[in-house]
Every structure is written in C-alpha cells, then in structure tokens.
C-alpha cells in the first residue's frame, strides 16, 4: 500500500451513510493517525478509533477543532444530493451555508489543512435537451438550474471553486458522483426501482449512469491516499438506456407519466406514495452521461460497471422479500469486539481467522529474556535487520542484511508470527510493551503488532489513571 498523504483527517457528516463508511475504511489504514468525525447527530454505526465530536457546521467551533487537532485533511461527505431525504430549506441550509462554514473553518490563519475533499454530485450538470452525451469536468451547465437541489449544488461548488482560488496551496478534490445504487444506500432511485412496476415518461428512454456505493467510498479513500487536485466525475463504466435498466432488474416499465404536464402527474403519484423529485424528473426525460475517464487516469479502478451495479441491486432486491423480517445475523457489539481484539485469552479468529500456532516454551522464555534485555539496553541498539515480511508467500524473500548484534537475543522473537506476539501482549507490563513497540517499529514494523500494542496500552491507560 502506498503511504497515505493524509495523516490527520476530519470527516464531516459522520452520521450519514457516507461519513460512517468512509471513517470505517480509513480506520483500517494505519497511516492515518487520527480520524475525527463531526456531525450534529450521533453516528449510527460503531466506530473503532474515530473520535466523534458533536458539532454542526458552526464555523467558529469547527475551526477550533480543526486547529487544535492539527487536521491536515478535511473530507466533506455531508452534501445532500437527494431532495427526498429532507426539506428544501434544510437542504439549502446544509448544502450552501454548511459548505461555506466548513470552508471558513478550513481557512483559518493557523490552519494545517492542506487537502480538502468535497463530495458533490453530477446533478451539478443537470439534465437538459441540449446536453452533450458525456459531460466532462470542464463543462458547465448549458442552462441555469431549476430544481432546488441542483441550485444548491451549483452554489456549493461555486464556493469550493472560490476556496480553491484563494488557497492555491491546498489540494482541493471535488467529486461529482453519478446516481449511487447499492444494497445499503437508500436513494430516490432505489425506491423507484423497488416498485413492482417502474414508471416512465411516455415516449422517453433516457440514458442512465450509476455508481456502486463501494466505488464511492473507494473514490473518497483514493483521494485521501493521493493528492488529486481538480474536479472528477465518478460514475461506473457504461451508460444504459432506462429500458435496459428495467430489464436487468427484471421489472416491467410502465410509461404512465405523460410527456406534457409531467409535473402535475408526479403530484398525483405523490398522493399514491411514489415520490419523484424534480431533479429525477429531468433525468427521466433527458437522461445524463458523464465522462469518467479523467478519474480513471489517476489510477483508480472501478469495481463495478453501471450494468454490474444494477445487477447487484437486482440480486439484492430479489432476496429482500425472502430475507424480510430475518434479524441481522451479526451485529456489532463493542464489548465483544474489544474482547476478541485484545484479550490474551482469544486464540482463534484473530486477523486471518485462523488459529495461530501456540508459541513454544523456549520461544516464550526467549521473548521474556529479550524484553528484559532490550528494556535495559539503550533503545536503538538493535541494528536494522530485514526478515521475512508477514504473510509473504515466497521463502526467497528472506534476506539477512546486517549481522545481528550479539547483545540482543532477537533471533527467536523475529521468528514469531504476528499472532503469536499479539497473544502474549496481555501478559506483559507497560514498560515492556513500550520497549517491544520501539523494537518492532525499528525492525520489522509489522502493523498488526504495533496496532495491537497501541490498543493494549490505550486500554490500560484509563484503568491506571482512574
């Protein structure tokens, strides 16, 4: 894995689906030292090491958080791009005023922010009669926006562009995501596709492009790992006709919406509980395609094409009635997770899910001996030495570069697998743990071990201060 260019990250909208998923992904990356999530509501899912701060988009408070935590990267996932989730007034407040405040928080005099990642939407382009078949990032809208949510997005992007101009040393990445689909995310389009028959406008077969939820999260992560200044369209490969989408989902389409007076007809449908927001109405008439190649050129690989995204959703929707009412088989329980992760009594199911071989008695005593010797000896006494990387399949990669110093009996320790070391951590003392961490960092630097030691230390600390 390449080293992340973002070390201390602030994620806005932590309580939204995107914020939570992104934070969980970033937690897996050991290069990211600190993850702070802000939102005005409590996060829904469980998070391992993300620090949650309940703060809305008040710029004064946010700026204090950003400056105090020396945040270097702000990832703004909070933009509302679906007008069915909230009222237009609240969406405007969040999208336009909220974006302004977050930018204000990033541009303080003592700020360490050097990267801003903004999640926008392809609704920026709108849907019009005289659109090109594939929008590229440099194209603007041919006409001013009419749908309220599109207006908000255009305004939010305008303030992003202004921020980019005023802060040329900050790497600003702006993503324009196509309509997102996936098993976990609920959007207006998802609800449309869940209907037994799918309504269409009579005489129109729009072109549609979707992106899978996993690709959205991966795109945000890709931008956190690398410096990608500029605007990028993110959409799955392939643009499908709406009738093609329906047939992939195995559903019948019904052209019930009249081509003239469509707005009135959607009002009638709304009474029946079928909500078609204005921005979707434009898509159902004219459709939209975007050119996703610029982002691909930065080295990003999509996991799903538009067609595969729809197929995945179709599979999920077919299983939904069968699995309805079945309780989630696995729920995140913090206490259980903590036990499984850190307790020395847990022997199997850690990391690779396999039972680690038990360390032999001699190995244990060697380790104890080493630790005492190492804690006494000056740190850094051990010369750097390369041994087999963890999990490397070929034994050819074993190479001893430097002769080991005689003073430290490190031989057996280096032969221990990561799981074996981790299973011993619980029985070690604080000073020994620190010594072991320093040694591991200087030598093999196995992330699993380092993280485990940090975890044990973190858990012990409050117990000691109490």
């Amino acid at each position: 894995m390449t080293e992340s260019t973002s070390k201390r990250v602030l994620v806005t909208g932590l309580s939204t689906y995107w914020g939570a998923r992104l934070a969980r992904e970033l937690e897996q990356n050991p290069d990211v030292e600190a993850i702070i999530g802000v939102d005005s509501a409590d996060p829904a899912g469980e998070l391992e090491r993300t620090e949650f701060v309940r703060v809305g988009t008040q710029h004064a408070l946010l700026r204090r958080v950003v400056e105090a935590a020396e945040i270097d990267t702000v990832i703004d996932t909070r933009l509302v791009v679906d007008s069915t989730v909230t009222s237009p007034r609240r969406a405007h407040e969040n999208n336009v005023i909220g974006t302004m405040n977050i930018l204000a928080a990033c541009s303080g005099p003592n700020t360490a922010v050097r990267k801003l990642i903004f999640k926008s939407s392809a609704h920026y382009y709108g849907c019009n009669q005289d659109d090109p078949a594939f929008f590229t990032e440099s194209m603007g809208r041919p006409h001013p926006p009419r749908a309220p949510i599109e207006r908000d997005i255009v305004e939010a992007e305008a303030s992003i562009a202004e921020f980019r101009e005023k802060n040329p040393d900050v790497c600003v990445t702006c993503f324009r995501f196509a309509n997102v689909l996936g098993p976990d995310v609920h959007t207006a389009h998802r609800r449309l596709f869940e209907l037994p028959v799918i309504p269409m406008i009579l005489g129109f077969d729009p072109r549609y492009q979707f992106v899978h939820e996993d690709d959205v999260v991966n795109a945000l992560k890709h931008a956190a790992l690398h410096d990608l200044p500029g605007i990028f369209n993110v959409a799955g490969d392939g643009v499908l006709a709406f009738t093609e989408v329906c047939s992939l989902l195995g559903k019948q389409f019904v052209p019930v919406l009249p081509p003239w007076g469509t707005g009135l007809a959607t009002q009638a449908l709304r009474r029946l509980g079928i909500v078609i927001p204005p921005e979707m109405l434009g898509q159902l008439r004219f459709g939209r395609g975007t050119d996703n190649r610029r982002f691909k050129a930065t080295g990003f690989g999509y996991r799903y094409t538009t067609r595969e995204t729809i197929q995945k959703l179709g599979e999920h929707l077919r299983l939904q009635p069968i699995l309805a009412g079945v309780r989630e088989p696995y729920r995140y329980e913090r206490e259980v997770e903590e036990f499984l992760r850190w307790s020395p009594y847990v022997r199997r199911g850690r990391e690779e899910g396999e039972r680690p071989p038990l360390p032999s008695v001699t190995q244990l005593s060697e380790l104890q001996k080493f630790l005492t010797a190492y804690a006494v000896a000056a740190p850094g006494g051990g010369e750097p030495r390369l041994t087999r990387a963890e999990g490397a399949p070929e034994p050819e990669s074993i190479e001893v570069v430097e002769p080991e110093p005689a003073r430290v009996p490190v031989d057996d320790y280096d032969d221990l697998e990561a799981e074996e070391v981790i299973s011993l951590l619980g029985s070690l003392e604080g000073a020994h743990l620190m010594a072991l961490r320093a040694y591991e960092e200087a030598n093999q630097g196995r992330n699993a071990i380092l993280r485990a030691i940090d975890g044990v230390l973190a858990r012990r600390e409050p117990a000691g201060t109490r």
Binding site: A133, F134, G203, G238, T298, G299, R307
Partner: protein, 301 residues
Amino acid sequence: MSPDRTSLRPREVEEEVIGTTAAGLPVKRGDLRDYLPAVETDRQVNDWGRSERVEGLFDKTIVDFFYNYWFRADVEGIENVPPSGGALLVSNHSGALPPDATMIAKAIKEEHSHPRPVNITVEHFFKGYPGFSMLIPKIGCVAAHPANVHRLLYDEGQLVLVFPEGRKGTEKLYKDRYKLRRFGRGGFVEAAMRARAPIVPVCVVGAEEAAPIFAQVNVLQKLTGLLYFPLTPTFPWFGPFGLLGFMPAKFKLRFLEPLYFNEDRMWEDKALVQTVAHEIRARIQENVLDMLKTRKSVWFG
C-alpha cells in the same frame, strides 16, 4: 485551398495536460483514449443509446427495401471513406423526413470493404420530443453537440455524418432544390480539425425529388411543436406515416476525396475554418450540379 499552412503553433492536441495521476505524473488529453469503457458483450445497446436490435430490424426491412428497390441507389467513390479511424462525412441535405442520411449509412454498410456503423448527427430537438427521443438514438443518431462529435471522431474513431445546412436544408422548398444553403458557422470543420479526422464530402442526388416540399405551414408548426410542418405529396394527408411516403426517385451518391488536417491547432484560425467550410460547400455544389447535368431521368437515372 491549402490546409497545409505552417504559421500555426506546433502543439499537439494530445499533449494538452489536463490533470495528474496519483503518482503526480501529468495526464494528457490523448491518454484518456486508453480509458474508454470496455465493451460489455451482453449488452445490445451501446453507451450512446444505439440498439443493435432496433437498428438491425430497421435495416433489414424498411432501409433495405428503400435502398435496393425503391431508390435503387448508385454509389461511386466509396473507397474515399477511410476503412478505419474517425472520419467526418459532410453531405447536402433535403427532404421533410430526410432519406439521405439513412441511404449514406446504408451505402457504407453495403458497398464498403470495411462496413462500419455511421453516427448521424441530428438536432437537439429530437431529444425533447416524445417518441422521437426514444427511437432516434436507437437507430444510430446522436445529438449534434461539438463534444459528441469530438468524442466519436477522436476518442472512439468512428464515422460521423453531419449536414452543415441543418434545418435550413430540410426546410427548403422544391423550387429551391439542389441549391445548397449556408454551411452553418463552420463548426464541423473545427470539430474535424480538433479531432484530426479527415472530412469526406458526400453528394446526394435524388433526395430532393423523393421528398419534395411544396409549402411550409407555420401555424401548424407552432401548434404541433415540430421543427417544421411541410406539405408534401403524402404529408399530412396520410397522417404521420405520410412522412415516409417517398417518391421512387433514383438515388445517386458520390463520395469525394477526403480532406486531411495534419497541422496542429488549425481550428484556432477562424479564417482558415471558414475558408475550408466554403471550399467543401463549393465542392459538393459543383459535384451535385455535375451529377444533375448527366442525369437523364429523375426516376431512372
């Protein structure tokens, strides 16, 4: 006319830097061609909305009938259409529901050694009109947007057919037949220069007699919201299908020698663009008159 001018800045269009990769290396516009989406073989509709099935159905029935038996099309100079890579076909235009576009596409499919689909550019109007909006892309038409033409020519290397006369060509009455209208603002030349694709001028004779327009009714045009409302021998007397009521005139198609644009950034010279546009118009007009001169009968050629 000489497209081989040297006074222009020598900078390749492919060299234009539009961003950086994750590793910080520059991304050039030309590189993006490597990132075109792969073809998904299970699909019958392509990214432009063209449907193999619908197009094939039309091709095997109506188009085949008109091409072989009704218009009995004669084709010359088909070898001037390049067998691969992007090329812009430029033709004269006529007819209420113009038969010339389909016949040019069919000619390449039938007569060329490397048959390829032709993308026919149409007005944006069709995207907004119910029914047309559904059908038009399925049979291989794309909206005449400069970005669409560029992508087709440069990135995908396809054949694109444009009618620079546009609406003015199809609106014109029978008495003005074979008098070419103004060739727009030369946007098609600019598109070809940007994409470095050759322009192949095409002359069509017979289309004016196949679908003669005697008058335009402006009141009905406003009422129906159509592009125009023509009076033809069969329309509107036989309803919308009257637009398909073509006269059995003999069709003659002539593909002229292609023009190549090998200089960089030629499109920046607006005067050159206009000169080339005029030149192409003159060539087509000249050849159309030449074909008319030798035509003994409207119906039998």
